[in-house]
């Protein structure tokens, strides 16, 4: 019952066949952790989270509630912390995405990550990538946020284990470590 003039219909039972997938796949180009990536997605409305974890294998970003409440899936898009579970993948075309995998490098961990290690700011670790990315975005925007803004930022991410006390300690420590790292960079 397929119309030969229409090679593909979304209701076609063969839609999931590799042939049809090739017809549907759309190129998606964006910058991911300082590298240009180009992938093909079947549906540009899928969440960025699924593209990161499924297509690109970056499983550091976690899926918590998948409806934008818990913050476990937070990534940084053009300097702004966004929940990747409600960010359409198609909308990051040409934009700059940073995930927890992009932090740190050969010289060691990112100051925010070091702060979490130093202050025991994690227990099960599931919410940690989200907290780290949210704080990373905050510190990139404002290297010296007051207590109020730190609390506001941590407030956006759920944590079931820590009671937030040590996460807030980590946030304050991150500000200090970031400042020390900046001073060290400038001295070099």
């Amino acid at each position: 019952m397929t119309d030969p003039l229409i090679p593909f219909s979304p209701h076609d039972t063969h839609a999931s066949e590799p042939e049809a997938r090739k017809v549907m796949s759309l190129p998606l180009r964006f910058r991911l952790n300082q590298e240009d990536v180009e992938i093909h997605v079947q549906d540009p409305t899928v969440p960025l989270l699924d593209v990161l974890r499924g297509d690109l294998g970056l499983t550091g970003t976690k899926s918590g509630c998948a409806i934008g409440y818990c913050g476990a899936c937070t990534v940084v898009v053009d300097g702004e912390a966004v929940p990747s579970c409600v960010q359409m993948a198609g909308l990051v075309e040409g934009r700059d995405v940073r995930t927890v995998e992009g932090l740190g490098g050969p010289d060691g961990l990112d100051p925010v990550q070091n702060a979490f290690v130093k202050c025991s700011g994690l227990q099960c670790g599931f919410c940690t990538p989200g907290h780290v990315m949210a704080l990373r975005a905050l510190l990139d925007e404002d290297p010296d946020p007051g207590e109020e803004r730190l609390r506001e930022t941590v407030d956006g991410n759920y944590c079931r284990c820590t009671g937030y006390v040590k996460i807030l300690d980590s946030a304050r420590e991150a500000v200090e470590l970031e400042r020390a790292a900046r001073v060290a960079r400038e001295a070099r």
Binding site: C65, I67, Y69, C70, C119, S120, Q123, R151, E152, V154, D155, G156, N157, Y158, C159, R160, C161, T162, G163, Y164, V165, K166, I167, L168
Partner: protein, 152 residues
């Protein structure tokens, strides 16, 4: 802790926990366990209502099932008793849940102390306190429980 007399909304300002978990093997993690337990206890006490219909939870997402966030956490004070448990490893006992269970009861008592409303069912929502403050029958005043209330 404060209760808004107009709405019944509870704000927990400060909370202290002293825990006997035997010998503390890893102080920062033990503190974290207690702080996390208090956060879960606050959720259980104030906002997390879990019920179900036809075998399915009626509040299946975080918009209806409110967890405590960093913004509602009170200032916490955590101390450990100097103790040794001979049957435990290196004198330790469990630490995970022990700080969780007392939280709903201390919140209930604090609410009773503050506004004279003894809520007997969790969670102790603003709505229950509000109606408790207005319905004479459901209110067990502080004089009934022998508690002195000063609104705080």
């Amino acid at each position: 802790m404060e209760v808004d007399p107009a709405t019944g909304a509870v704000t927990v300002l400060e909370l202290a926990a002293v825990v006997d978990c035997g010998t503390v093997l890893n102080p920062p993690l033990a503190e974290g366990q207690v702080e996390g337990a208090i956060a879960q206890g606050l959720g259980m006490a104030l906002t997390e209502r879990f019920d179900w219909r036809d075998g399915a939870p009626t509040r299946p997402n975080f918009s209806d099932y409110k967890l405590p966030t960093a913004g509602v956490m009170p200032q916490l004070h955590v101390e450990f008793a100097d103790s040794y448990e001979p049957t435990g490893p290196f004198g330790a006992k469990g630490v995970g849940e022990i700080a969780l269970d007392p939280v709903p009861s201390i919140i209930a008592s604090a609410v009773a102390d503050a506004v004279g409303v003894r809520v007997h069912e969790l969670p102790i929502t603003a709505e229950k306190i509000y109606w408790g403050m207005r319905d004479e029958d459901s209110v067990r005043t502080t004089s009934d429980t022998g508690e002195e209330g000063d609104g705080r």
